[in-house]
Symmetry: C2
Subunit: 165 residues, 2 copies
């Protein structure tokens, strides 16, 4: 449908624009993860541990299924890293009250501290990019990124409300 009477130079621009989009995602992600990776290696942890710590910090009391749904990995893969994090005292598991089969996950103080250390690096990087680009650009960024995310997960990004507002 895009090739109905479109001059070659416009096709070229479009192709180039889309490829730059692909590469922005690749380079941004590559650079975005390097900071935390370095910190993690001091603890003998990897990126998988970071993801677990991040999302448990973000959703205290979440279940193992919730976490599996976000990470989209198998429970066997998760269990390895989660087990280590529990073992080493970064996360605690409590039986659910409503459903006692569930294991509700929460960061310990130690876990909270590591989480902050890890995400601080990323928050700073994002903050700098937002500040330099300006509010309108940030809104555009949000919209495009939301469009790239699978429809099923977009609801996670509903507008935040002020606490008590």
């Amino acid at each position: 449908m895009a090739d109905i009477k479109m001059p070659t130079r416009l096709l070229f621009l479009r192709e180039e624009e889309l490829r730059q989009g692909i590469e922005l995602l690749y380079f941004a992600y590559r650079d975005f993860t390097r900071g935390p990776d370095e910190i993690l290696s001091e603890y003998g942890f990897g990126r998988a541990h970071h993801r677990v710590i991040y999302f448990v910090g973000r959703h205290p009391g979440m279940t193992v299924s919730d976490l599996l749904g976000i990470l989209r990995i198998t429970k066997q893969s998760l269990s390895r890293v989660l087990g280590q994090l529990v073992e080493e005292g970064f996360i605690i598991q409590d039986k659910g009250e409503r459903d006692r089969r569930q294991r509700l996950l929460t960061l310990t103080e130690k876990g909270v501290e590591l989480e902050r250390q890890l995400s601080q690096n990323q928050r700073e990087r994002i903050a700098r990019a937002y500040r330099n680009a300006g509010a309108d650009a940030v809104e555009g960024f949000r919209q495009v990124m939301l469009g790239i995310v699978d429809e099923a997960d977009r609801a996670r990004f509903d507008r935040p409300r002020e606490p008590g507002a």
Copy 2:
């Protein structure tokens, strides 16, 4: 510096905004890579092969060093996947004319076809997101993403010029 007389609710909004930024990157990247991953597995390839095919397609005749610089992995890691791609006829290596130590990398026809198949999925995803968000949003997306990328690599995203313009 951000904590000079800033009301709690604004701090909360800022924190929430930054965390959403972190998560947009995580979810977008996760979903962006799944399509190609499925195609690749039919060939017995992985994401690493995709990256090599992509960048060689993007920069025909690039050297091994160039590629290592982009991927930021060791030559031993690269050699595994690159070797397979050469072996199976997706990439050819030619000695450099100016410097005969170099191996200049180019996609074969077969390689070009696989590259298109792989990136088509991603181009479509980006195109849809761009279309739905609109031109201004795309510009904002570009600016923010560029701010996230390490300064050293931003020059890769200089504005494209029309061929022959």
